[in-house]
């Protein structure tokens, strides 16, 4: 009986622990992916194109000449 209740407790603890681990690993996974794939300090920034607020073309190379802070984001 005692054995059963301990087993039950263990199962409950595991059930509680698994989702928490999954949540932590989600952000951690994103972070790890970013760390391994995104350009690292010391590497040249790759070039890619977008456009400015007036619709004219913009490329990452356009930022050369000054120390540049780039932050990505959207409206949400």
């Amino acid at each position: 009986m005692i054995y059963m209740s301990r087993l039950s407790l263990l199962l409950v603890a595991l059930t509680l622990a698994v989702p928490v681990c999954a949540q932590q690993s989600f952000v951690e996974r994103m972070n790890q992916g970013f760390k391994s794939r995104s350009p690292k300090a010391g590497e040249m920034l790759p070039d890619a194109a977008g456009f400015r607020a007036d619709g004219t073309p913009f490329t990452l190379k356009d930022t050369r000449g000054k120390l540049t802070v780039l932050v990505t984001g959207c409206l949400t």
Binding site: S38, P39, A41, R64, L70, T72, G73
Partner: protein, 377 residues
């Protein structure tokens, strides 16, 4: 972009110290959050940019990624990452999630400290939400039936600029998802959500008839068209998404279908009302890097936000939320931007049905009650 005030403060302190700042506006991570959905055209993206500038109240210059996300792909960027690049184009600093305090420390070391640094509180920045032309929250969000994947969809845009009659823009935009069975050609579930794009400032014209859709397979004459129609709404207008979850069988894996949608909208300023018919290619294949219906995955990740309301005041505040998840939870649920989640905000996205399903599955399997996902203990 919750940390824009922090970035704004640094921008004001360093913009005249030979440092340039750019926000790269990218595709929407979670369509539907704050009513924003991804642009179909460059013109729409430019309108979103203007909206972002107004809403965020920032003076930091904003540029846009391409519609295909070329910049984000090249940088392998996270949703809200930051990078500092030296004048020669070499990366000197990067952060997975924009962190104003860490960025300021970096710039202080690299460029030098400033006298009297700008404080966020001094900026008194508030998010500005344009007044909606019609009420929100009158049509209850649908409960999602289970795990679904975002489908590849493509609007049939008017390519010929010199066409005689200019086609109306996609006032309502489609987000389609399907479960594994439906994607493999078997009997499964298909989610269709039509979201009004806020850049157009229009609302549904309910008395003129609801929204209807039909799905055909242009390559299979034997495919029985699938049709759907919203119920009759008693209220005249609103701006809520029109959503459907239907039983669906595409007959074959990865089928390329054609969806036609019809609806009527009115301009918020009373200039026009018009019926619209538009078409999409609907591919029963998983979209890479796509973003699911707002809040859907959050349900799985964190469960009921109100379970974190420790003092019982009806608000799950930043202090009460688990530290590691507070930022991401507020990002998704906190629609009035008061740094807390209230019951209405929680109910909007929290999908009780799915949690109940998960619980009942667990009971059957383990004969034990299962904790809600993300109980936050």
């Amino acid at each position: 972009m919750r940390n824009v005030p922090g970035l704004e403060a640094i921008y004001r302190d360093y913009k005249n110290k030979n440092v340039q700042f750019l926000i790269i506006y990218k595709s929407i991570v979670h369509p539907g959050t704050n009513g924003v959905i991804d642009a179909f055209t460059k013109e729409e993206r430019l309108k979103q940019l203007a909206l972002a500038k107004k809403r965020l109240g920032t003076t930091v210059p904003i540029v846009s990624d391409s519609l295909d996300g070329d910049i984000v792909k090249a940088l392998e960027s996270a949703p809200n990452a930051e990078f500092v690049v030296d004048p020669e184009g070499k990366l000197v600093y990067r952060k997975f999630w924009h962190d104003p305090a860490a960025l300021r420390t970096f710039l202080e070391e690299r460029v030098g400290k400033v006298d009297n640094p700008t404080k966020v509180a001094d900026l008194n920045m508030k998010l500005v939400f344009p007044k909606a032309g019609a009420p929100r929250g009158l049509v209850e969000p649908l409960k999602m039936p289970g795990r679904m994947a975002i489908l590849n969809t493509a609007p049939e845009l008017q390519e010929d600029a010199g066409a005689k009659d200019e086609a109306p823009p996609f006032f309502a935009k489609l987000l389609a998802e399907a479960d594994r069975k439906a994607m493999s050609g078997g009997e499964g579930k298909l989610y269709l959500g039509f979201y009004l794009d806020p850049v157009y400032q229009v609302h549904w014209n309910n008395p003129a008839g609801g929204l209807s859709f039909s799905i055909n397979d242009p390559n299979d004459a034997g495919f029985e068209p699938v049709v759907g129609q919203t119920p009759e709404y008693k209220h005249e207008t609103d701006v809520d998404p029109r959503e459907f979850v239907i039983d669906f069988q595409a007959q074959k894996r990865g089928a390329k279908l054609r969806l036609t949608v019809r609806y009527t909208i009115c301009d918020d300023n009373g200039k026009f009302c018009m019926p619209v018919e538009q078409h999409y290619t609907l591919e029963m294949t998983r979209k890479r890097g796509g973003a699911s219906r707002a809040g859907q995955w959050m349900t799985e990740l964190v469960g009921d936000p109100m379970s974190y309301d420790k003092n019982g005041d009806g608000l799950a505040s930043r202090d009460e939320l688990p530290k590691q998840r507070a930022m991401i939870m507020l990002l998704h649920y906190d629609r009035n931007h008061d740094e807390a989640i209230d019951k209405v905000e929680a109910a909007l996205f929290y999908d009780m049905t799915r949690m109940e399903q998960a619980k009942s599955r667990a009971v059957k399997k383990d004969k034990l009650p299962r904790a809600r996902t993300g109980g936050g203990h």
